[in-house]
C-alpha cells in the first residue's frame, strides 16, 4: 500500500497541480494583505492615529446608520444587529478583535476562505485524481496489474488526504508568512472571544470564553481541514463517477457556488440545512456569525458533513470496484 501511495504522490507532484495551488494562494494572500494595508492607511488619514476602541466605536455607529437606512432586507438587518452586539461585547470587555499582526490576518483570511476559496483549491487537486486516469487511458494498465481495485482506489484516497492536509497547512503558512511582511509576526497570544451563540435575534453571551489567538487558530484550522477533507471526498466521488475531468469540476463548482449564494437566502427553506454546501462555514460558529438557517449548530454541521463524506466514499468504492472499463 505504501508503494501505491508513493506512485500516486509521484503523479500528483509531477502534474504540478499543488504548485499551481500554492501560486494561487500566494497571489491571493498578497492581494488581500495589500488591500488591508491600504484600508489601514485610509483609516489613519481619516481619523489620525487613534486607539482601536475609537475605530470600533466608529464602526458600530456606521453599522447603526446602515440599519436605519431604508431598503435593507430584514435578514440583513438582523445580521447587522448581531454584529453590533458582538462588537459592543468586544468593546465592553476591552478586547481588540483585530489585533494587528500576521496571526490575525491568517485567522480572518481563513474565516473568509472556508466556504469557497479553500474548497476550490481542493477541487483543483481532487477533481482529476481518478478521472484523469480514465481520460488518459492509463486506468487500463492500473487495473490489469495484480492489485485489487479497492487497494488502488484506497491509495488514491490516502494520497488525497495527504494533499488536502498539505494544502491546508500551506494555506496557513503562506498567509502567515506573506502578511507578516507588512503587519509583523506578533499577536499569537492576543485574546480572542469565542462561544457566541444566537437565539432568535439575540446574541447569547453566557458561554463566551476568552482564549489566546494561537489556540483559536488551531481550532479554526482543524475546522478548515475538516471542510477541505469533506469537499475533497465529494470531489473524489465525482471524479470516479464522471469520466470527464472538466465536467466533474463543473458539477462541483456549481455546488460550491450555489452553496455560497444559497447561504445568504435560504433562511426560510428549512430542509436546505441538510445540503453539504450550506454547512461549509464552520468557522462562523467559532466567531459567532448567525448560521444560514436558524437552529444549525457546529455539531449539526459536522454531522451533516461527516454523513456526506461517508456516503461519497461508499459510492466511490462501490462504483469503482464494479465498474466495467470500456
Amino acid at each position: 500500500m505504501i508503494n501505491l501511495v508513493r506512485n500516486e504522490m509521484l503523479k500528483i507532484v509531477r502534474k504540478k497541480r499543488i504548485l499551481v495551488v500554492a501560486g494561487i494562494i500566494a497571489v491571493l494572500v498578497a492581494l488581500f494583505t495589500y488591500s488591508q494595508f491600504r484600508e489601514i492607511e485610509r483609516r489613519l488619514e481619516r481619523f489620525g492615529d487613534v486607539d482601536w476602541r475609537t475605530t470600533l466605536q466608529q464602526q458600530i455607529i456606521d453599522t447603526q446608520n446602515r440599519i436605519t437606512s431604508s431598503g435593507i432586507s430584514d435578514e440583513w438587518k438582523s445580521e447587522l444587529q448581531l454584529r453590533i452586539q458582538q462588537q459592543q461585547y468586544y468593546l465592553d470587555n476591552n478586547v481588540n478583535p483585530m489585533e494587528p499582526g500576521a496571526p490575525t490576518f491568517a485567522r480572518v483570511f481563513a474565516e473568509h476562505s472556508i466556504n469557497l476559496f479553500i474548497p476550490l483549491m481542493i477541487m483543483v487537486v481532487a477533481a482529476d485524481i481518478v478521472s484523469s486516469e480514465r481520460s488518459a487511458g492509463t486506468v487500463k494498465l492500473l487495473l490489469t496489474r495484480p492489485v485489487k481495485r479497492w487497494k488502488i482506489l484506497m491509495s488514491k484516497y490516502l494520497t488525497l488526504i495527504l494533499s488536502v492536509s498539505f494544502i491546508v497547512v500551506l494555506f496557513g503558512v503562506l498567509s502567515f508568512l506573506i502578511s507578516g511582511l507588512i503587519f509583523g509576526y506578533q499577536g499569537w497570544s492576543a485574546p480572542v472571544l469565542t462561544g457566541f451563540s444566537v437565539e432568535g435575534n439575540e446574541l447569547q453571551t453566557n458561554a463566551i470564553q476568552m482564549i489566546p489567538q494561537w489556540q483559536y487558530l488551531l481550532m479554526e484550522f482543524s475546522l478548515v481541514w475538516f471542510v477541505a477533507l469533506i469537499v475533497g471526498t465529494i470531489t473524489f466521488m465525482l471524479s470516479v463517477l464522471i469520466r470527464n475531468t472538466p465536467a466533474g469540476m463543473g458539477v462541483m463548482l456549481a455546488a460550491l457556488i450555489s452553496g455560497a449564494i444559497l447561504s445568504n437566502m435560504v433562511s426560510s427553506w428549512d430542509s436546505a440545512k441538510y445540503l453539504f454546501m450550506i454547512n461549509l462555514n464552520l468557522t462562523g460558529y467559532l466567531s459567532g456569525q448567525a448560521p444560514p438557517i436558524e437552529g444549525m449548530t457546529l455539531g449539526f454541521s459536522l454531522l451533516v458533513l461527516t454523513l456526506w463524506g461517508i456516503a461519497a466514499l461508499i459510492v466511490s468504492f462501490a462504483v469503482f470496484i464494479r465498474q466495467d472499463i470500456y
Binding site: L4, R6, P146, V147
Partner: protein, 303 residues
C-alpha cells in the same frame, strides 16, 4: 509445449438486453502466437477486456495460468501482461519512471530485470526522457516493456501494430515471434488485418458478431481459401474450360476466379493453352479478409 496457459470457456457478455459476446471458447498453449481476427466491432476488444479483468463477463470462465480471473484476480494478473488498445502510459513521467511506477505494483521486481526489459525493447537510449517526447513506436515498445516487467506467461496485445510505420510493424512482428519462440511466452494478438495475422501467428480465431466462427492454424485457413485470378482471351472459352475442372466465379475487369489447388492448377493452365486460349495473367492470391469473412459467415455482411 502443450501446456495450456490461457483458457476461455463459454464467455458471454450482455449489455442491457443485447448479447455482445455470445459464448466464446478457446485455449492457448505455451510458446504460441495466437491471433484474434475480426472486423472492427466484432467483439475483439470487449473479449480482450474481459480477459484482462477490465470488464466483468456475464457468464463463462477465464483462467490464466490456472487461476480464475474473477476468483483469484491477483494471482491470475501476475501471470499476465497486456496492452489494451493504445499503449497509454503517463506522458508527464519518463519511461523509466513509468516502469518504476508499474514495478511498484508488482511483488518484487529487481532493477536488473527492469534494465533487461528496457534493453529487450531497445529503449535504453531514451528511457530517461519524458514519454510525451516518444514516437508511437517507442510508446508501443515501452508498453511491452511494462507488460514484461512481471515475467508473465501470457502476453495480451490488442492491435499491437496499429499506427506503426512499415518498419515498426516488421520490428514488432519479429519481436513477438522472438518472445514466443525464445522466451516461451504465449502471445495473444488481436488485429483486423489478415496480412498481419498471417505473418505473425501460429493459430488464429476468427470472430464475427460476438462469436468465434473458426479456430485453426493459419496455414490451414489460408490454404483453404487461396485462389487464382485469371485474365484470359477469349474469356468465354476459358471460363467453360475452367468450369470443367472446378468452380469459377466472375471477378472485376473480366477476371475469372478459381480456387488454388496444389498440383492441379498447373494442369488447368496446360489445358487452356492446348485449347488455344491466350493467358495474359495468372495470379495466385491470398484472400482478403473480407472474402474470407463472406465465405465463413455464409455471405453475411460485415458491420
Amino acid at each position: 509445449m502443450s501446456e495450456i496457459t490461457l483458457s476461455v470457456k463459454g464467455l458471454k457478455k450482455t449489455i442491457g438486453k443485447k448479447e455482445i459476446i455470445k459464448g466464446i471458447d478457446f485455449d492457448l498453449k505455451r510458446g504460441e502466437v495466437f491471433g484474434f481476427l475480426g472486423p472492427n466491432g466484432a467483439g475483439k476488444t470487449t473479449t480482450i477486456r474481459m480477459l484482462v479483468g477490465l470488464i466483468k463477463p456475464s457468464s463463462g470462465s477465464i483462467e490464466i495460468g490456472g487461476y480464475n480471473v474473477r476468483k483469484h484476480f491477483t494471482e491470475a494478473m501476475s501471470q499476465m501482461g497486456c496492452i489494451v488498445e493504445n499503449p497509454e502510459l503517463y506522458s508527464f513521467l519518463t519511461g523509466w519512471e513509468n516502469l518504476e511506477h508499474f514495478a511498484r505494483m508488482l511483488p518484487e521486481v529487481d532493477r536488473n530485470h527492469m534494465k533487461y526489459v528496457v534493453e529487450l525493447v531497445r529503449l535504453d537510449e531514451r528511457i530517461h526522457d519524458q514519454v510525451k517526447t516518444y514516437s508511437l513506436g517507442m510508446r508501443q515498445r515501452l508498453g511491452i516493456a511494462q507488460a514484461l516487467l512481471g515475467k508473465p506467461k501470457v502476453l495480451i496485445l490488442d492491435e499491437p501494430t496499429n499506427g506503426l510505420d512499415p518498419m515498426g510493424i516488421r520490428e514488432m512482428r519479429n519481436f513477438i515471434r522472438y518472445l514466443a519462440e525464445e522466451e516461451g511466452l504465449t502471445v495473444l494478438v488481436s488485429s483486423h488485418l489478415l496480412s498481419e495475422i498471417q505473418l505473425m501467428c501460429d493459430r488464429v480465431a476468427i470472430i464475427s458478431k460476438g462469436s468465434v466462427i473458426k479456430v485453426d492454424y493459419v496455414e490451414n485457413l489460408l490454404a483453404m481459401q487461396e485462389r487464382v485470378i485469371w485474365q484470359a482471351e477469349p474469356r468465354d472459352v476459358a471460363k467453360e474450360i475452367l468450369a470443367g475442372f472446378t468452380s469459377v466465379t466472375d471477378g472485376v475487369d473480366g477476371a475469372l476466379i478459381t480456387p488454388y489447388i496444389e498440383g492441379e492448377t498447373a494442369g488447368w493452365n496446360r489445358a487452356l493453352v492446348e485449347k488455344g486460349v491466350e493467358i495474359k495473367e495468372m495470379n495466385r492470391k491470398l484472400p482478403a479478409l473480407e472474402d474470407l469473412f463472406l465465405e465463413l459467415t455464409g455471405g453475411e455482411t460485415i458491420d
